[in-house]
Structures are given as C-alpha cells and as structure tokens.
C-alpha cells in the first residue's frame, strides 16, 4: 500500500523500482528541438570489422573491388557477431588498421571505402510478409543485415533473439528510456518514426512470441510518449512511463524497474525469459526485414557548446567524426573535450578521424565551461554517497579500497563483477575519485588473473599427463626387460637339460669358418692394397680357410644325423692391419654371423610353428618326435643367435668406450659438435649476406675471414665425426 502510494507520488506507472540512481542535468533541450537531419555525404568511409560486441566480422571483399551501397562486405563469424555493409557505393581502397573509437582506444582492422558519389544501392530483398518466415530465418536475416544493439553496447541482435532449445521469452522489453544526459537520438526517432518502430516491435513479437511486451520510457519525453502511444494503440503492447533517473535505461535496471525481476549474476536476461531491445534497434530491424536494407546508418546526436547546429543527424556508418562535427558547425577553438556517448558512460576521443560506428549514439563537443577538467582526486572520506546511488547495490567505496590496494580477490568477493560501470558513484563522489577507472583496472586485473589460472590448470594437467606417460613408458620397458630375461633363463634351462646336439655345433663351426675366411680375405685385400710384405701369405691363408669352410658346408646338410667332426678353429686373421681396422672387420663379421644365425633361428621357428599347427589339426598322426626335435633345434639356434648378439654388443661397447677414451667425447657429443659448427657457419653466412650492402669493406673482410675460419672448423668437426664413425666400425644403421 505504501509502496503504491509512493509510486503514485513519483508519477511512475511502474510498481517496481531499482535502488540508487542520480539526477544529472539533462541538457536534452539543446538537441531535441530540430527534426532529424541528413548527415554529411562522406568522401571516404572507414568501417571497422568490429563495430559490435563479440567476434570481428571477416572481410569478403578485396582491395580495389567496387562495392554498392548496402552490399555485405564482411561476414559474421562465431555465435556473437554480426555483418558489416558498405554504407555507400564506391571502391575498397584499403583493408587494414585504422584508429577506431572505444575505451580501449587504438587501431583495429577496418575496411576503407572511397565513395564514388553516386550512392547507388545494390539489389535489396524486402520481406514485407515476414510472418511467413520461420524464426530461424529471421534470426539469420538479422545477422546478415548487421543488426546490433544501437543503445550503446552493440550486442548483436541475432545472438539476443536466437533462443535455445526449450527457451521461452515471457517478456519483451523495448528500451526507450534514453536516460543519459545530452542524448536525444531515440527521442527524435520515436517522435518522427513511431510507426516504423511499431512494425519493428511486431517483428520482434513474431520472433520471440512473448506473453507481454513492455515499453519503458522516461517521463521527460512527453512528445515521444504521445507518438508511441498513438502508434501502439492497436497493438498488444504496454507503454510504461518511468520517472527520469539515471541509469533507468541500463538493461538490468530497466528490467527491474518494469518487471521487478533481477537477472542473476553471471547470466543473461534471456535465461530469465526476458529480452530487452532498444527502440532504435527495433527501427533497424524493421528496415532490415520489411525494406531489406541492412544497417548502414544510425541517428547520432551531435551536441555540446562547441557546435553551432546541435541536433540529430542520420549518419552513414563509417563517416569520420571530423566530417560530422564540421557538418554540425564545430568551433574548434572552443572545443576542449570530445565525447562519444553520453557524459556518464561515454569515452573521450583524441583522434577525430575515427568513424561513427553502430554504438555511436552521441557526440558531445564540449567547451571548457561545460565539461571542465576534472579536479584532482582527494582522499576518500567514506561519506557513503556512492553506496546510496549505486543501482547494483554494491559498496563502491569498499571496491575502491580494494582496487587501490590491488586486493582483487577481495574486490571480487564484493561483487565487483556485477558493477555496470554506470558512473553514478563517481558522479556523486565529493572527493572526485575516478571510481569507474579504478573498477575497470581491477576488473581487467581479475580477468588477466582468471586467464592465468586457466593456463596454470592446463599446465598442471599437461605436466601430470607427461609424468604419467613417462612412468608408463618406464614400466613397459621394465616389463619387456623382465620378460626377455625370463625367456632367456627358461631357454637356457631347456638347452642344458637336452643332450648336446652335433648339428648345432657343426653349424656354428661352419659359421665361424666362413667368418674367418671372409676376415682373412679382407685382411689380404688390405695388405695387397698397402703393398704389405705378407700379402701373399694372407691370401694363402684365406684360400685355406675357404676350403675348410666349403668342407664344413658340404657336411652341414647331414649335420643332424652325422657324428660331430673336428673342425679347426678359424684362425685369428689380419695380423698386420691396424687395431681399428681389425675391429671394423670383426664387427662386420660378427654382424653378418649374427644376421645369419638369427635368420636360421627364425626359419626354424616358423617351421616349428607350422608343424605344431599341423599337429594340432591332425593329432592322430605320429609326428610327435619330429616336433620335439624341431623344438630342440629352435632352442639351439636361438641360443646361438643370442650368443652372437652378445659378442657383437660387447665389441660395440668396447669400441664406443675406446672412442670416448681417445677423444674424450662420446659419439653423440661429436655429432652435436658437428651440428653446432654447421649452425654457427650458417648463422655467420646469413649475417654476411645481410650485411653485404650496409657494412663497410673492413668489416666485410673481417667477417669473410671469420666465415672461412668457421668453415674450416665445421669441416674439421665433420671430418672428425665421420672418421670416428668409420674408424670404430660404428656404421650407423
């Protein structure tokens, strides 16, 4: 009851309220008297790829391409994004960085178009009968028409109107509050084009199917209220006049003011079944759907004491601010502060070449009297005025202390994230503390901290995964080693248990004989090449060995049955060759011996398996003995191959350690040294090449000498490496 009386007393048609708020002087009369005028025809348009909130659009034109007015020149990319269109016909002259307006001022990618002055439209595709279109088609249309929230935040409308599975909108709110001082763009739009706004609202209703539609408008715009009321008279839509108080036009505040709902922290209004759209956005939606015109212009209020003709202009997007200001009669000598947006939430521009974009609802060219330089910050006296005016019921003062002392986590605990940066707290601060600046600083630090946390978590996961992998690999290696040992031990046991087998011995002897022969032959060849005295003798020895081997070979086929014969051990060959040559040969011999042994073993093993399979298939046949014999044979062959391998390994190890002893380095070091020398060489050569034009002759000569030196070094280390490899018989496989 009391609340009801209270709302009556406040002339409000809404029974709800939001806390806090301020009443800054409106300064609206200056710009809302004259009708909307056409903006300046630009010679050159600068269209940022990111005029909206979310992901930047991707260009679909190339430099030099001719474009028509309304042609899509960049496509929306990602969920929260929207397209960009050419605002007039002309030629694309550049796609590159250009200064853009924004709080985080700087350069961003823009498409620059030189106007051809014809202003020729491309083909349009009007949909007067939009009711036949499915909601998804309409959403796609909004996305392709580049519609973004024109109230100031620039949230892509397609993303706002695309509903998730099973999501329902119970309330559609049209934001006509326009609570910031100075701005009258929506006011004039409503007065002059209420009918089109109404159609835009129809489209939104068709799209979202809400159970009720509310229009929230501040009571300082009586003409706009009348115009809207007239346009809405036949429609299912409720106009609610709310008292003028900043920031009633904030999305969350307006929702609270009209419905009493609070949007839970960290969620979107649509999750609570509310969608809020600006009137200008509704107008743009009508143009996009009914007339097929994409968003290429907007109404911008140009005001402030430094312009001669304040008012509202329908400006092509991409028009440089400078041109618009001059069009409105800017007095450069009076201008001291240039704002885009309102005085509460807008940002200063320091570069007037930036373009008018989708969020540019206002330009304020203020002189020194109107917006004087802010006084110095003073100590906070804890007056608490900021807490009284905060529309989000935060404790701005606490947040300020935390931000000042870099206690960002404390600031988070005090719900810094829910700050809407409306500036009401800084507006009333008697100590002139730039509170919003402090909050932005703290928010950014928090975001950076969160990013870091995510990165750290990922690093931990990767680290743990790596640890696990290393451990697993280690375990697998260990298991393999153990399994091998086990198998060896079993086999050794089996071999010693079985009676000695002559065939195996003979084969071994044959192998040795052949190896010895080959070694002797090589030694002889070397000796001959060197003209050594004993070359003939060696040759003789080699042929002896050959005979011996042949003899053994002839006996081998009967080895299984034949009694063991005495085989002369292969003599130690290569008496005169150098130690390393000798080792090289032995290594080669051992390698081939091992290769042979291994091959035999494999073959026998395969035969055994075949036999076993056959036996399994015909268990009646009496080849059991045969299989047992084969098993034994396989075991023997395996043992021999292992033996050869062991001998080979020992020799390799010996060679390696020899090398290390001699050179003081292992092979790997030599390799790395060689590679290193080569890199140094390459680097130097590059420097020389690069400096050829710039450096003087002396330097060049010096560099050249250095290069030569490096070349020699690289060559030396390469030589050392190849020699080491060859000398040790460590031929790389």
């Amino acid at each position: 009851m009391i609340r009801h009386l209270w709302t009556r007393a406040r002339r409000s048609e809404s029974e709800y309220d939001f806390p806090g708020g301020v009443h800054p002087p409106a300064h609206k009369a200056r710009s809302n008297a004259a009708p909307i005028r056409v903006g300046p025809p630009p010679d050159r348009l600068v269209l940022p790829l990111n005029m909206h909130l979310g992901a930047p659009a991707r260009p679909r034109v190339t430099v030099g391409e001719r474009v028509l007015k309304g042609q899509r020149i960049a496509d929306a990319q990602g969920t929260v994004s929207t397209s960009v269109h050419a605002s007039t016909s002309g030629t694309v002259v550049a796609i590159g960085p250009h200064p853009v307006p924004g709080t985080a001022a700087g350069d961003a990618l823009c498409i620059v178009i030189d106007s051809d002055g014809e202003d020729r439209w491309g083909p349009l595709e009007p949909w007067p009968d939009y009711r036949r279109a499915a909601p998804t088609e309409l959403v796609q249309r909004l996305r392709q028409a580049g519609i973004a929230g024109l109230g100031g935040a620039g949230f892509p409308s397609a993303a706002k109107t695309r509903l998730g599975e099973g999501q329902r909108v119970h309330t559609l709110i049209i934001n006509a509050a326009e609570c910031e001082p100075y701005i009258t763009a929506d006011d004039r739009l409503m007065r002059e084009r209420a009918g089109q706004i109404a159609i835009g609202i129809d489209i939104l209703q068709h799209l979202l199917n809400p159970s009720r539609t509310l229009i929230g408008i501040e009571d300082d715009k009586p003409e706009a209220i009348d115009a809207l009321r007239a346009a809405m008279s036949e429609r299912d839509c409720e106009l609610r006049v709310v008292p003028t108080r900043y920031p009633s036009g904030g999305e969350k505040q307006l929702i609270q003011l009209l419905t009493g709902l609070e949007i839970a922290s960290g969620t979107l209004p649509s999750q609570a079944g509310v969608v809020c759209q600006n009137v200008a956005t509704a107008y743009a939606i009508k143009r996009a759907v009914i007339d097929g015109e994409p968003l290429i212009s907007r109404i911008t209020t140009v005001t402030g004491d430094a312009v001669a003709r304040p008012g509202n202009y329908e400006v092509l997007l991409g028009t440089p601010v400078e041109q618009l200001l001059q069009h409105a009669g800017l007095d450069r000598h009076r201008l001291v502060r240039l704002l885009m947006g309102g005085p509460m939430m807008g940002f200063t521009l320091s570069d007037t070449s930036v373009p008018v974009v989708k969020i540019s609802n206002c330009l304020i060219a203020a002189d020194a009297r109107e917006l004087p330089e802010p006084p110095p910050e003073q100590a906070c006296i804890r007056c608490g005025d900021c807490a009284t005016v905060c529309p989000a019921s935060l404790l701005p003062q606490q947040l300020y202390w935390h931000a000042r002392c870099d206690q960002f986590e404390r600031a988070r605990q005090n719900d810094l994230i829910d700050c809407i940066e409306c500036g009401a707290c800084a507006y009333v601060c008697p100590s002139h503390i730039p509170l919003v600046h402090y909050y932005r600083y703290a928010k950014q630090a928090l975001r950076a901290h969160d990013d870091e946390q995510i990165k750290a978590d990922r690093a931990r996961l990767r680290f743990e995964a790596r640890q696990a992998r290393l451990e697993r690999e280690q375990a697998e290696k260990e298991q393999r080693r153990r399994a091998r040992l086990e198998a060896n031990r079993d086999r050794a046991a089996a071999t010693s248990a079985a009676p000695d087998h002559h065939g195996g011995n003979q084969k071994k002897q044959l192998g040795r004989a052949i190896t010895a022969y080959k070694a002797a032959q090589r030694a002889a060849a070397t000796a001959e090449a060197q003209g050594a005295a004993n070359a003939v003798e060696l040759r003789q020895r080699a042929s002896d060995l050959k005979q011996q081997a042949d003899r053994l070979q002839g006996r081998a086929p009967q080895a299984d049955t034949a009694p063991s014969g005495v085989v002369a051990a292969a003599p130690k060959a290569t008496p005169t060759a150098t130690a390393s040559d000798q080792r090289e040969r032995r290594l080669k011999a051992l390698k081939s011996a091992y290769g042979r042994a291994h091959k035999q073993y494999k073959q026998a093993h395969a035969a055994l398996q075949r036999a076993q399979r056959a036996q399994a298939e015909h268990p009646q046949s009496n080849d059991h003995n045969d299989v047992a014999g084969m098993e034994q044979r396989v075991a023997q062959l395996k043992a021999r191959a292992d033996q050869e391998r062991a001998a080979l390994d020992t020799l390799m190890e010996q060679a390696k350690s020899d090398l290390q002893q001699r050179a003081g380095k292992d092979l790997k070091t030599l390799k790395v040294e060689a590679a290193r020398a080569e890199v140094a060489l390459r680097r130097h050569a590059e420097r020389l090449r690069a400096g050829r034009d710039s450096a003087d002759t002396d330097t060049l000569r010096r560099w050249d000498a250095e290069l030569k030196q490096l070349e020699r070094e690289a060559h030396r280390s390469r030589e050392a490496l190849t020699q080491a490899v060859r000398a040790q018989g460590l031929v790389e496989d």
Binding site: E322, E377, A456, A459
Partner: protein, 191 residues
C-alpha cells in the same frame, strides 16, 4: 567396593563406546588425500620450473604443506607468496628470488627455427610437453602451452632458444591516486 567396580565398568564401557565411535567416524569421514596440498597446488603457477628446488609444482606444494617456507616460487611472484601465507595462516614473507628487474614479467620460449638442429633435448626438458618436433627436424614451441619456465634453454646445444616477453594486452593502468587529476592532455592529430 561395588562403587569402585561400577565406576571402573562404566568408564570401560564409555571408553569402548567412544573408541568405536571414533573408529567409525574416522572410517566414515575419511579425507582422501591431503586437501591442503591440493589447495596449495592450486595457488602455484604450474610452471613446473623447479626454481623452488623441487621437481615440479606439486612436490613443492607437498613440501610447503609439510612445513617448507612458502616464498620460493619466483614465477608466482609476491602475490602467490601472499596467497600461500593467507591460506596457511603463516607470516607473509617477501619473495625469495634473485631480485632481477624482470622477475615478474611473463615470458615464453621461442626457438629460432633456422638454427635448430633437431636434437630433441628441449623436448625432453619441457615439463608440460609444449615443444613439438622430431629428431633431426625443426622444433617449435606451442606458445599457449608454454609456461615460461626456461628449462629448455640450458639443454639446447646451439643456444637457439630465447625467452621472449609475452606480448600482454596493455592493461588499464591504476589511476594515479590522491592529488592527481585523472585527465591527460592529448595533442590531437587532426582537425
């Protein structure tokens, strides 16, 4: 005499009862692992750099939980040392680092690819598998995954790894504070 007996019996019964209760509770409400270690680990920057003298962040977390001094994490900076002090209810300590000026700066490893010889030593050194490459082929660092621990720099035989400062978004600076106006004068480039 009976009184003494009753007293003894009652006490015994109580002891047994509470013993059983405690045993049950310790079983029922058992805490898996050591949550303090988890929480310490969550505060550490996970660079796995080993500058604390432990082979990774988690071992250091375990050591801190066991009583080791909590200011030995240079990559985490003073803020981590303070956060650990707060978590553990210990005295806040100044960071124990070498005091170099760029200590707090975030860095990533960068391989000069023309000089890389493909030795794979850096890959083996990287604690978070942020380097890709194969033997005798060029290696490269995945910038997003690199924690800037610089463990890969030392093993590189050709010194082709640099630690480059991470190009961070320039943050909105903190306002200058009492006695300063937040306004600046900017020379306008046009108009």
């Amino acid at each position: 005499m009976t009184a003494v007996l009753i007293a003894v019996l009652v006490l015994l019964a109580l002891a047994a009862l509470f013993g059983a209760l405690l045993g049950y509770a310790s079983d029922k409400f058992r805490v898996e692992g050591d949550p303090v270690v988890e929480r310490i680990d969550a505060l550490l920057p996970q660079t796995q750099c080993g500058q604390c003298g432990h082979p990774g962040c988690r071992p250091y977390a375990e050591a801190v939980a066991a009583g080791e001094i909590h200011n030995r994490c240079p990559p985490g900076g003073q803020s981590t040392a303070d956060a650990l002090a707060e978590l553990l209810g210990r005295e806040p300590l100044a960071l124990d680092d070498d005091g170099s000026a760029d200590a707090g700066e975030k860095k990533v490893a960068f391989i000069r690819e023309a000089e890389c010889i493909g030795c794979t030593k850096c890959i083996q050194a990287c604690p978070v598998d942020a380097i890709v490459g194969a033997a005798r082929l060029m290696h490269t660092v995945i910038e997003d995954e690199c924690t800037g621990c610089d463990l890969c720099v030392e093993p590189c035989p050709v010194d082709c790894i640099d630690m480059l400062p991470l190009g961070e978004r320039s943050p909105a600076g903190q306002p200058d504070g009492i006695g300063h106006s937040p306004a600046q004068r900017l020379a306008v480039t046009n108009l």
